[in-house]
C-alpha cells in the first residue's frame, strides 16, 4: 500500500485528516465495495483544491494538445489530433482557437456576443451571449448546439465540486506529464469515465482523459495542458474584426430535443 502521506500534495493542508484517513483506509479496505467508499473524500477534496486554484486565475491562457477517437461504421477506431488555445479574462472574456485535423474554428466572446469564425472557409456568425463565462458553454450548447471542448476548465473553477454525481473517485498514483510531477486520479459517473492528472506544483490539470461509455466503441478524448497564468489581455484580444474576405452567415438555433 502506498504511503498515504506521499500520495498527493493535496493532502498536506489537512494533516490531521491524513491520520484519520489512513486509519480509515486500512479499516475499510475489506468493506470498500460500497458506492460510498468508491468516492474517496480525499479525492473529492483534491478536485475542490484544483477548483480553488482555477478560480484564482483571473487572466490566463491554456494550450491543449488533443486527440479524439471517432469510429467508422465498421467499428474501426480512428484518432484525430488537434490543438486548443483558450485565452480567458474572468468574468466575461474568452478567445478560443480550436483546430483539429478536420476543422478549424475561432471564437470571440466579449460578455455580450459570441462570434464563431471558420478561418479557412471565411464564414463567421455572431449571436447574443450570456453575461459571464460561467454560463457560456451551457447556454451555447443548449441554444445553438455549439460545444466548447474542455469546458470543464470553466465549470470547475466556479462550481462547488462536492463530488455528487460521481460514482467513483480514486487516486491512482504519481505520474510524469511532460516532465512535471502530477497526481493521477480516476473518476466514474453515469456514461462517462474520466481521468485527471493534477500538477504537484500548481494544482492545475496536467492532463485529462474522457472515455465515453454510452458509445459501444468507448471512444476517448485526451488533452495535455500547458498553462500560462501570468498574462494580461486587452479588449482587442476578445473582439472580432471580420477580414475583408469573410462572409457573415447565420448560426442556426439548435433543433428541439430528439432531433
Amino acid at each position: 500500500m502506498p504511503n498515504p502521506g506521499r500520495i498527493a500534495p493535496f493532502l498536506r493542508r489537512s494533516a490531521p485528516s491524513i491520520v484519520l484517513a489512513a486509519g480509515f483506509v486500512c479499516a475499510a479496505a475489506h468493506a470498500a465495495d460500497t458506492q460510498e467508499a468508491a468516492v474517496d473524500p480525499k479525492v473529492v477534496a483534491a478536485l475542490k483544491t484544483m477548483g480553488e486554484h482555477l478560480r484564482q486565475l483571473k487572466s490566463f491562457s491554456v494550450h491543449a494538445d488533443t486527440t479524439i477517437d471517432e469510429s467508422t461504421d465498421e467499428g474501426q477506431k480512428l484518432q484525430f489530433g488537434g490543438t486548443i488555445d483558450y485565452k480567458v479574462r474572468r468574468p466575461d472574456r474568452l478567445r478560443a482557437e480550436i483546430d483539429t485535423d478536420r476543422q478549424q474554428r475561432s471564437f470571440y466572446y466579449d460578455g455580450k456576443t459570441l462570434t464563431q469564425y471558420a478561418p479557412r472557409m471565411g464564414y463567421y456568425g455572431k449571436v447574443d451571449a450570456p453575461p459571464t463565462l460561467r454560463e457560456l458553454a451551457d447556454v451555447m450548447k443548449e441554444k445553438f448546439n455549439i460545444s466548447f471542448p474542455l469546458s470543464d476548465l470553466f465549470r470547475w473553477g466556479t462550481e462547488d465540486n462536492d463530488g455528487s454525481g460521481l460514482t467513483s473517485a480514486a487516486f491512482v498514483g504519481p505520474a510524469k506529464i511532460n516532465g512535471a510531477d502530477c497526481g493521477h486520479f480516476a473518476f466514474r459517473q453515469p456514461d462517462v469515465d474520466w481521468q485527471l492528472w493534477l500538477s504537484h506544483d500548481t494544482y492545475l490539470p496536467c492532463k485529462l482523459v474522457i472515455t465515453t461509455l454510452d458509445d459501444p466503441t468507448q471512444p476517448q478524448y485526451v488533452a495535455l495542458f500547458t498553462w500560462r497564468t501570468n498574462v494580461n489581455f486587452d479588449d482587442k484580444t476578445f473582439a472580432f474584426e471580420a477580414p475583408k474576405t469573410a462572409h457573415k452567415i447565420d448560426i442556426a438555433a439548435a433543433q428541439a430535443a430528439g432531433q
Binding site: 483506509v25 470498500a32 458506492q35 479525492v43 479524439i68 470543464d152 473518476f187 452567415i249
Partner: protein, 171 residues
C-alpha cells in the same frame, strides 16, 4: 430522368446525409466531462453496489494496473495490413469536414465530391455539407449565398459545422 424524379433523388440524398449527421452527433465522443462533481449529473441510485472492476474498490490501491495491462494493445502488428480491406473511413466521419479541406491537398480525398448534392436541381430546403468548388459566393441584401449554376445555397452554422441549405434564387 425527369425533373421530378431528380428532385426526389436529391431530397433522398439530402435526407440520407442529414441522417448520417444525426447519428454521428448522437454517438459523439465527449469533449468535456460535464457537470461531474458539480452536483447536477443524474446519479444512478441503484443500490446494488455494482462493483466496478477497476479503480473504485479503494482509494489508493494499485488495482488499476491489472485492467490497464490486460486489455491495451500497444501495437498494430496483428491487424490486417495487406491492403485488401478497403475500409470506408469517410462515411461516418466526413460530415464534420470543412469543405475546403481538400483543396491543394496532395492526398486524394473522395469525400468532398461524394457529399455534394448534385449539380442538377436540388430541392428547396434540402441540406448539403459541401458544395462544388465551382460555386461562387454571392452577397445579396447582406446575406451570403453560394450560387452553383441555377441552384442557390445559403450557408449557415449548425453547431460548429457549416451546412448549405438550398434556397430559392434571391433575385
Amino acid at each position: 430522368m425527369t425533373i421530378a424524379t431528380n428532385r426526389r433523388l436529391v431530397a433522398a440524398i439530402a435526407l440520407a446525409l442529414s441522417l448520417i449527421a444525426t447519428s454521428v452527433d448522437a454517438r459523439g465522443t465527449r469533449t468535456s466531462v460535464g457537470s461531474a462533481g458539480g452536483g447536477n449529473a443524474s446519479r444512478s441510485t441503484s443500490g446494488s453496489a455494482s462493483r466496478s472492476a477497476s479503480v473504485s474498490a479503494n482509494g489508493n490501491s494499485g488495482s488499476v494496473n491489472r485492467s490497464a495491462n490486460a486489455t491495451s494493445n500497444t501495437n498494430v502488428s496483428r491487424s490486417t495490413a495487406n491492403g485488401t480491406t478497403n475500409v470506408n473511413v469517410n462515411r461516418s466521419v466526413n460530415v464534420d469536414v470543412d469543405n475546403d479541406w481538400d483543396h491543394g491537398n496532395r492526398w486524394d480525398h473522395p469525400v468532398a465530391a461524394a457529399a455534394v448534392v448534385g449539380g442538377t436541381i436540388a430541392a428547396i430546403g434540402s441540406v448539403a455539407y459541401s458544395v462544388p468548388p465551382s460555386c461562387v459566393p454571392v452577397a445579396v441584401g447582406g446575406v451570403t449565398y453560394q450560387q452553383c449554376g441555377s441552384t442557390w445555397y445559403q450557408p449557415q452554422y449548425a453547431g460548429s459545422s457549416v451546412q448549405y441549405v438550398v434556397v430559392s434564387p434571391p433575385h
